[in-house]
Each structure stands twice: as C-alpha cells, then as structure tokens.
C-alpha cells in the first residue's frame, strides 16, 4: 500500500516521518461561566416544586366606584380605555339593550341596523362597535393618534345626542333579522365540537357553550394556559372569529369565567320606566 494510505487511515501514529512537525494539541473549549463559583452555587440549590395543572378561575375585580348610582334624567357616562390602547369601553348608566347585543365592523354593517353605531362610526378610525347591556365597546385603528380621552368624549356626545332624539339603539329590521336562539346554539356547538375544542385540546383547554340569550353568547373557558392573560386574549380572538364566521348575527361573546363579564361595574341602578329597546 502506498505510504499516503497509511497516513490517511491510520492517523500516522508511530509513522511520522523524521523531521515532520508533531500534531498540534487540540484546544479544549469550555464555557468559563460553568466554572464560576457563584453559578455552581446557584445550580446546586434545590429547584422549586412545579405546580400541577388545574382549573384556573378568573377573579372578579371590584371597581372602586362600583356603587355609583344613576341620578334622574342626567345621562352619566364613563370611559375606560384598554391597556393596549386598541379599544375603549364606554359605560352608560342605563341599559341600551337588555338581552340582545349588536356587533358591527363597518359603517355599512351598521347602516339600517343601528343608528347609534352609525353615528359612532362617523367619528373616523373606528373599526368595530359592540353594544351590550349598558356598555359600548369601541375598537379603532391602532394608527389613530387622537387620545381615547378625546375620542371617548366625542362618543359620549353622540350617545347623548342619540338619547336626546329618542332614537332606537337598534332597528326593528335588525331585531327581526336575528336567527332563533336554538339555531345560533346549534351552529356554535358544531363549531366548538369540530373546530375549537380539537384545536385547543393540545393546550389542555376546552370551552363550553354556557347559554345563548337572543344573539348574545356566553361561553366558559377551561384549562388552557393556566390563567396566562396574553394567551387567553389570543385564544379568544380566534374562537370569536370562528363563531362570527359561522353565525354573522352573533353579538357580544362573553366568558362567564370572568365573573364581571357582561356587567357594568360603575352603574347599577335602572331609572324607572326606562326601556332598553327604544
């Protein structure tokens, strides 16, 4: 066999030619952090015990002025922007809709269905308007620079103007166009069984359809990411989109595990003789 063969396949051990340079010593690479005494001491500490996954209950947060009471004919309105700035919840001291709810994502969707929502869309930059009970949830384009303090004042002006005219919150055409509760319930149950729950089962989560009141949907979320707020928001957005694709007439979708869902924490009394559906 030629001499090069031996060099290649035997490593050349003991067969180095006279005068040839010895192989260089291999550099031993080691992370110096591993040898740090403080790091080693930290690693030696016992690890905290892991919590077992269990059902997580969302608490009801009590608002400081939850006992505010409506006073006569004066319309009292509060606004509370969301932390991410994308939406603002407007609380009115009287119910706008009792069992029904309305959700519109454009001026054209509100046209002919809700004069109040149409008026709010005229503000500009508004992406959606949801009306349920005594609250209006407004989302807007994230690039709108106006503060929610200013926008909510404009919304309040339009609400007061609407009440001043005695106009309906939603039209008869909107109400008559809603499917029956049973139909909504059946269609959403199919979505839950075939699409939603199989999708979130990998996260040990599931949702159940608690009940349907008119076109307002109440769900119960269970398991999931153990109360992690960020994942809950993402999860809900996906679920709500699936629901609305199946039944476009669905209004508010509320999670009953959030005990304050659907309630107005600031105004609790109802003026005598007030009708919700004007």
């Amino acid at each position: 066999m030629p001499s090069w063969f031996d060099k290649v396949f035997s490593g050349g051990a003991g067969k180095t030619k006279a005068g040839a340079k010895p192989p260089e010593e291999k550099v031993q690479l080691r992370n110096p952090i591993l040898d740090d005494p403080e790091f080693q001491e930290e690693q030696a500490k016992p690890r905290p015990e892991r919590a077992k996954p269990r059902r997580v209950i969302e608490p009801t947060i009590l608002a400081d002025d939850a006992k505010a009471v409506s006073s006569g004919d004066e319309l009292r309105i509060k606004a509370k922007p969301a932390a991410d700035g994308r939406s603002c919840t407007v609380y009115i001291d009287r119910p706008l809709l009792e069992r029904h709810s309305a959700w519109f994502t454009s001026p054209s969707a509100a046209f002919g269905n809700s004069p109040l929502a149409e008026s709010i869309f005229e503000i500009g930059g508004i992406e959606s308007v949801q009306i349920h009970g005594g609250t209006i949830l407004v989302t807007r384009d994230p690039y709108v620079k106006e503060s929610w303090a200013d926008t909510s004042k404009e919304i309040a002006t339009r609400i007061r103007g609407h009440f001043g005219k005695g106009a309906a919150i939603v039209t008869d055409a909107f109400l008559s166009g809603l499917p029956a509760e049973k139909d909504i319930q059946d269609k959403l149950q199919v979505v839950i069984d075939t699409e939603v729950n199989p999708g979130i089962a990998a996260h040990s989560g599931s949702i159940s359809l608690e009940r349907v009141e008119a076109n307002t949907v109440f769900i119960r979320m269970m398991g999931g990411c153990q109360g992690c707020a960020a994942s809950a928001v993402t999860l809900k957005q996906g679920i709500f989109q699936s629901f609305r694709e199946a039944v476009p007439q669905v209004g508010a979708i509320l999670d009953v595990t959030e005990h304050a869902a659907g309630t107005n924490p600031y105004y609790t009394s109802l003026p005598a003789g007030m009708r919700a559906d004007a």
Partner: protein
C-alpha cells in the same frame, strides 16, 4: 411586562376554610408565602407576603388539595419594579381540590367621566 418584586395578600375566609397554609405559583413554580399571619379557618383573616421577584406570566393562588375553600374577600397590593404600588380587591370565590385562582393583574387603567 413589569417585574413583580413583592405582593401583599389579605384575604378573609368565608364559611368553609382550609387546614393547610396557602401557597402560590408563579410561572408554574410553587412557592411558599413569607411573613404569614392569621389563619384560613372559617371567618379568619389571612395576611402574607409573596416575594417572587420575577416577571409573572401566571400568578396563581393555589386551592386546597381537597375540600372547598370559601374566600369571602381578597385584597392584593402589587409592588412592581420602577412603579408605585397598586391595590386591587377581588370578589369572593370558592376554590376546591381542582381549582386555583388567577391573582396576576396588571395596573388597571383608570376610568373617567365623559
């Protein structure tokens, strides 16, 4: 996300209490409260300090291993790094051998009259 250095818990037990000292979990890790006072028997008040000094993705009050624990009222003061503390009150809730309570809440946004 703020770094939660400490939080103070004050809770009042309702009709049904628990015999073991409550614990909490942060990001899935179980930890003991510090400087505990009072008790968790029926009608008793319990105060404790949680000292996670970490960024909470989840912060849970662990329910009892068995039986029901009726919590009538909870008040928590959160101390986050670089921010003034804020307090929240939660409505009553009942925990059992299969449930925990989410007690992580970011600073609430103020509501204002318009």
């Amino acid at each position: 996300m703020p770094k939660l250095q400490q939080f103070d818990v004050k809770l009042k037990t309702g009709a049904s209490g628990r015999s073991t000292v409550p614990r909490y979990s942060i990001n899935g890790f179980l930890l003991d409260f510090e400087h505990t006072g009072g008790g968790t028997g029926p009608g008793e008040e319990f105060q404790a300090l949680g000292n996670p000094d970490s960024f909470p993705h989840t912060l849970l009050l662990i329910g009892p291993d068995d039986g029901a624990w009726d919590i009538a009222d909870i008040s928590i003061t959160y101390h986050c790094a670089g921010e003034p503390p804020y307090s929240l009150r939660f409505a009553g809730v009942t925990l059992d051998g299969e449930s925990d309570l989410n007690i992580w809440q970011t600073r609430p946004q103020p509501a204002f009259d318009v």
